[in-house]
């Protein structure tokens, strides 16, 4: 080949490569995916992804192709369903833990968890946690099964996340939620107050300022008292729920949970730690630490939480003891003098 022809051929190859390489290396990015999947009108309901919720998950950092590796740039015209990586690829420890229990025979990860809304444990509220279980476990069946042995069944089921007993988490804490009554006739009906309502209540200020007056991400006993006593918030209140501090995937009923003592004999020491969980704009909850003593305080701080056996006041114990000692003073005092003066009554 003459040199001129050879150089022209090389130039042509370079030009072709310059155009071809970007085209073959192009792949969809998250914006492309969410352009369709983030629009309710463009995709079926089961393929819709709430961009706000998804954006705050750890999964969003991986990007769509982090899990859907095989998606092509021709999607969806290629007619192929994008492949999925298994959760086990990243969550090996959890999978091992989960597969040791009976739940793994009946439910896969996706049956309980929406990977596009995979929030952290502290980001969800008590009711949200139980929603995962309610997907399979019918509420009536759950009530019947517990009512066979559990006293105050309705109260326990309403106030506790299922995982308090059905995972091996042994650390409990009290989580305060802002609730309001939904039905004046049935006083027990309460619902968690949502962000929009709290935003109105805060009147333009940060919702957190309703309970955290100085905005230091710490709620003192005084701040909690101000919220509880504020007549503007009369229809709202902080309601405590006993919750696990963490959760595992060993979903079963542990032997020690049949014993009421697991919670009720935990003593006042276990009642020191508590957090307020406030709803956020994006549907999650933000936890703010509360000063120690809020759970045990008799006045002002926690009118709507009591765990029999554990939430007892030391001061009240002392007062009760003094009262009982007062009752014993007569038998012991009078009895002692009666013994000493017994001779005075002989023959009478």
């Amino acid at each position: 080949m003459p040199s001129t022809k050879k150089s022209r051929f090389l130039q042509l190859c370079i030009i072709v490569m310059l155009f071809a390489v970007p085209v073959s290396g192009y792949s969809m990015d998250d914006d492309d995916c969410l352009g369709c999947h983030g629009d309710e009108d463009s995709v079926a309901a089961n393929l819709f992804i709430d961009q706000v919720s998804y954006g705050i998950t750890d999964h969003a950092e991986l990007g769509c192709t982090g899990c859907h590796e095989g998606v092509s740039d021709e999607h969806p015209d290629d007619g192929l369903i994008p492949s999925l990586v298994g959760c086990v690829d990243c969550h090996e420890d959890i999978m091992e833990e989960y597969q040791a229990g009976t739940h793994s025979d009946n439910a896969e990860c996706g049956d309980c968890h929406n990977p596009h809304k995979a929030f952290g444990f502290a980001d969800v509220c008590c009711a949200d946690m139980n929603d995962q279980c309610a997907g399979c476990h019918d509420a009536e069946d759950v009530y019947k099964a517990h009512n066979e042995w559990l006293p105050q069944t309705k109260l326990h089921l309403a106030m506790l996340p299922c995982i308090s007993c059905h995972t091996d988490s042994e650390c409990q804490m009290v989580v305060w939620y802002i609730v309001k009554n939904t039905n004046v006739a049935r006083l027990a009906d309460v619902e968690f107050v949502e962000y929009n309502e709290l935003e109105k209540l805060a009147m333009g200020k940060n919702v957190q300022s309703l309970v955290d007056l100085d905005g230091d991400d710490f709620i003192s006993l005084a701040e909690m008292k101000v919220f509880n006593k504020n007549p503007k918030y009369k229809s709202f209140r902080l309601q405590g729920r006993l919750s696990s501090e963490c959760a595992s995937h060993t979903l079963t009923t542990f032997d020690n949970r049949w014993d009421c003592c697991f919670c009720h004999c935990s003593g006042p020491e276990s009642m020191k730690k508590s957090v307020v969980a406030l709803p956020t704009e994006i549907g999650t909850f933000k936890r703010i630490e509360v000063e120690e003593g809020a759970v045990l305080s008799i006045l002002n701080n926690s009118p709507d939480f009591y765990l029999i056996g554990a939430t007892r006041s030391f001061l009240l114990n002392i007062i009760g003891l003094l009262i009982i000692c007062g009752g014993l003073a007569l038998p012991f005092g009078h009895g002692f003098l009666r013994f000493l003066t017994r001779k005075n009554r002989l023959g009478k």
């Binding site: 007892r312 009240l316 017994r342 005075n344």
Partner: protein
């Protein structure tokens, strides 16, 4: 020679009520202590069983209190006469009893100023104490206890009235007061002419009044 008069003081319904009430209150004190201090007291079995026992005893005592009130108010119609102290009781009767129990009794002189009869079973101190217990403390502990068993339907009202812990505290303090009363009551029941005299009376209904000793003097 001592002459013994037998006086029928306590009718059968009252005696049955008294002993059911006594058993109920002792059960409530013991089970209540275990419920409040479960890490330290395990006298009555598991936590679940002790709560069941406490709740059952609570309902029994509540019904018993109700029957007591109906019986004395509408059947015998003697509630006011027997239990409400008169002005004379408050001005003189209480002082006389105090002087007797805490002075003359030890010196072995005089006799109990009060002689029980079916129309006047209690001395001025007893009237005051029993009125406070039966019309004040007992209804209060029963109402707070029933509310605690049934928190859910009235949760909002409880919260508005100060909260669950106020209710529990009230129940605990009144319970402690009744426990204190129980010790005092049991001791005072031994101050008859013999340590068992008043207790036997409460069992048989018949009070043995020994002339020359006063109705409730103690010789031991």
């Amino acid at each position: 020679m001592e002459k013994k008069n037998m006086v029928y003081l306590n009718t059968t319904p009252i005696r049955i009520w008294h002993w059911i009430n006594a058993l109920g209150i002792i059960t409530l004190c013991l089970s209540g202590a275990q419920i409040r201090f479960p890490e330290y007291i395990t006298l009555l079995g598991s936590y679940k069983s002790v709560i069941l026992l406490h709740n059952t005893a609570g309902y029994v005592v509540t019904v018993s209190l109700f029957i007591w009130f109906i019986y004395y108010t509408f059947v015998t119609r003697t509630l006011a006469k027997l239990y409400v102290p008169t002005m004379d009781d408050l001005k003189n009767g209480v002082i006389k009893q105090v002087v007797y129990y805490f002075f003359n009794f030890f010196l072995g002189r005089g006799e109990n100023p009060h002689h029980p009869t079916p129309d006047s079973k209690f001395n001025a101190m007893q009237k005051s104490a029993y009125l406070a217990v039966m019309v004040g403390l007992m209804p209060l502990v029963c109402v707070t206890g029933i509310l605690l068993i049934n928190v859910d339907p009235v949760r909002q009202y409880i919260v508005e009235m100060g909260g669950l812990k106020i209710l529990v505290s009230l129940h605990f303090l009144v319970g402690s007061s009744l426990c204190a009363f129980l010790f005092t009551h049991m001791y005072l029941s031994t101050l008859g002419h013999s340590p068992m005299a008043h207790i036997v009376t409460m069992w048989t209904g018949w009070e043995e009044e020994v002339e020359g000793h006063g109705g409730s003097t103690d010789s031991h």
